[in-house]
């Protein structure tokens, strides 16, 4: 899951980035409205954390431009502006949620998971795919009710595919989902993780569509 963090305060930005990375998210951090615009037009994100009072371009403008491009990426506003009018304005501009600073880290993470669930069209916090149950919040995976140990990257890759069963994702797309800009990406690492996941969870879970990418069959989720 790849998140764009737009925050001009370096202390807040660094803390949120660290915390979310520890939760297994790939986090890209930009510090002004123009950079946010550029990032959002050039890359696909699963979620945007957006501050409103930004240098060079207001967060509200970034949001309005995003929605004008018919981009449906969930946006969670993080702002010190706490009046009801501010929140209403933010939500009406196209935000999916609004969190007032100072906020609790756990609440932020819970809201991020809720937004990602809604975006994937799920209500159940646990993703069930045949014999496999994935809990994105606890970051646990059960195979026939038995816990399976996955590395952080493996889990991130599994989540990327499990979020949209039936959608074929290319290696490049999968790389984008599990690595931030700052992360070192080795060649064929995605293939290595896929191989490892198949070994741990069975070969039927992740299928290869030759020349296109990987997919978790949609029928597993039904």
């Amino acid at each position: 899951m790849r998140i764009l963090l737009v925050e001009d305060d370096s202390m807040i930005g660094a803390s949120v980035q660290t915390a979310l990375q520890r939760e297994g998210f790939a986090v890209d951090w930009v510090r002004d409205g123009i950079a946010a615009d550029t990032a959002l037009t050039g890359h696909a994100f699963d979620l945007v954390l957006l501050d409103l009072g930004l240098p060079r371009q207001e967060g509200g403008t970034v949001l309005a431009r995003l929605r004008a491009r018919r981009d449906t990426t969930p946006v969670l506003i993080l702002s010190a502006r706490d009046t009801v009018a501010d929140r209403i304005k933010g939500l009406n501009t196209g935000a999916d949620d609004y969190l007032v600073k100072p906020f609790d880290l756990d609440e932020l993470i819970a809201r991020i998971h809720a937004l990602l669930r809604r975006q994937a069209g799920r209500a159940d916090p646990v993703i069930r795919l045949g014999h496999i149950a994935i809990d994105p919040i606890a970051k646990t995976t059960l195979l026939d009710s038995e816990p399976v140990t996955l590395s952080a990257r493996e889990f991130a890759l599994l989540m990327a595919l499990a979020d949209h069963p039936g959608a074929v994702l290319s290696v490049a797309q999968l790389q984008e989902k599990i690595y931030g800009w700052d992360d070192e990406v080795g060649s064929n690492t995605v293939e290595v993780y896929i191989h490892s996941l198949r070994k741990k969870l069975g070969t039927g879970l992740i299928r290869n569509v030759r020349g296109v990418g990987y997919v978790i069959p949609k029928e597993l989720s039904e």
């Binding site: 202390m11 660290t18 520890r22 240098p55 010190a80």
Partner: protein, 441 residues
């Protein structure tokens, strides 16, 4: 408490009483004069109409009115009194001809003496009778005036009540207000005497409203600004809490410390700004040796500058004694140098300069930092304004504080980008601010 109504009543009844007393006195004087004329004439007539023969009895119709207390005496040419009426009244023995006043044992008398043939006739009347009659006339004249007292008191009472009605209305309007309603009072149908008061009150309300609004904005801004470092603190604390390794914990705690010192700096600057607020803190104006202060400030910041790889130095320090608030000036100087230190990347140079010019006194701090984009120059002295994209942690209050202190000293803060790069911050004090104690310090 003094009441306008009572004061007016006292003054009006007092002047009325004085007026009536004066009228009574004048009437009495006039009546007495008239009574004198009439009675003198009567006495003359009486004397003329007396029978020339003293022995003939007095005609009964001619008998003097006992009310008028007229005493008649007649002497023959040998000096023997041959007639006397009411002698018991104690009339003086007097034989002067014509009118005269005589002092008797029982009071003053008006006496008229006349030579009638061989006899001397004297007609006397006590003055008290005449006075009584005059007083009676005066009293009858002023009696209706006395009735005026209650009528006038009542009318005054009503008129004052009517006249003060607008004050009651304004009072009610003020009383009904809560502390937040500072809109002007209704000033339309007011008498000319009260309108200026309400006008002055409205002026005060307007000024209060403005200053309270400014205060409210400031508190709102301050609360908003405190949110950012508090958010950082909360996040850093939570990160420290959930740190899995010793390394992570160390990083989190050093972040937490940095967040704390940033919050501290902001709170300190807020406090400084509040203290420099006009009238917030009484500060004594003293003669301040500005050059000594500048030298001290530069040496105070020297170590910090060296640690950051910056060359901080004093270019020039003319001997100047200024009238001002010593603490405030120290803060001004500290903020200017601190600002330069914060925003100048290493290696860099900061020059401090204090000199006397034709315009007054110039205190100038030049740095070799990035300067401020021209478009933002006018705004950087606003509270909480920070230049976009600035990496450095700052409160956004430094220049606002400098501006406020400069204004309190009648000085101006001038900001300009230097041609060779960097910012030049200059505070220019007017010549009037130079202490008259120059040279004695």
């Amino acid at each position: 408490m003094k009441s306008i109504r009572t004061t007016l009543l006292l003054w009006l009844t007092g002047s009325l009483a004085i007026g009536i007393a004066l009228t009574a006195w004048l009437t009495y004087r006039q009546a007495r004069e008239e009574a004198n004329e009439i009675f003198d004439y009567q006495m003359q007539q009486m004397a003329a109409s007396l029978p020339s023969r003293a022995f003939s009895p007095l005609a009964p119709g001619r008998a003097p009115d006992p009310e008028e207390n007229i005493v008649i005496q007649i002497w023959d040419n040998s000096g023997l009194r041959i007639y006397g009426s009411h002698l018991e009244a104690g009339v003086p023995q007097w034989a002067k001809l014509g009118f005269s006043y005589v002092r008797g044992p029982n009071g003053d008398w008006r006496v008229y003496g006349a030579q009638l043939g061989e006899t001397v006739v004297q007609i006397a009347q006590p003055l008290s009778v005449r006075r009584l009659i005059a007083a009676g006339i005066a009293l009858r004249t002023i009696a209706p005036l006395l009735l005026l007292f209650p009528v006038m008191a009542l009318l005054t009472w009503l008129a004052v009540g009517q006249g003060l009605k607008p004050i009651l209305r304004v009072t009610g309007e003020v009383q009904r207000r809560d502390a937040n309603a500072l809109s002007p009072l209704e000033n339309q149908p007011l008498p000319a005497e009260i309108a200026p008061l309400v006008g002055a009150l409205n002026d005060l309300l307007a000024r209060l409203d403005k200053s309270i609004a400014a205060q409210r904005d400031f508190v709102a801004d301050a609360a908003h600004e405190l949110r950012t470092p508090l958010t950082a603190l909360q996040l850093q604390a939570q990160l420290a809490e959930r740190a899995a390794t010793e390394e992570e914990r160390r990083t989190a705690f050093s972040g937490l410390k940095a967040g704390l010192s940033r919050t501290q700096h902001l709170v300190q600057q807020l406090l400084t700004l509040a203290r420099q607020e006009p009238g917030a803190f009484p500060q004594a104006w003293t003669a301040v040796r500005l050059d000594d202060m500048v030298r001290n400030a530069v040496s105070d910041f020297a170590l910090q500058a060296a640690d950051r790889g910056l060359d901080l130095g004093l270019e020039q320090a003319d001997e100047i004694t200024l009238t001002g608030h010593a603490d405030a000036l120290r803060i001004l100087l500290g903020n200017l140098i601190d600002n330069a230190l914060r925003y100048t990347p290493a290696p860099g140079r900061i020059d401090v300069c204090l000199r006397r010019t034709v315009q007054g006194i110039e205190l100038q701090v030049d740095d070799s930092g990035p300067g401020i984009p021209e478009a933002e120059l006018p705004r950087v002295r606003d509270r909480f304004y920070r230049v976009a994209g600035t990496e450095t942690q700052g409160s956004g209050l430094g220049l606002a504080i400098v501006q406020q202190i400069a204004a309190a000293h009648g000085a101006t803060l001038q900001l300009a980008n230097r041609a060779e790069g960097g910012l030049s911050a200059r505070v220019v004090f007017p010549p009037a601010q130079i202490s008259t104690l120059t040279g004695t310090a």
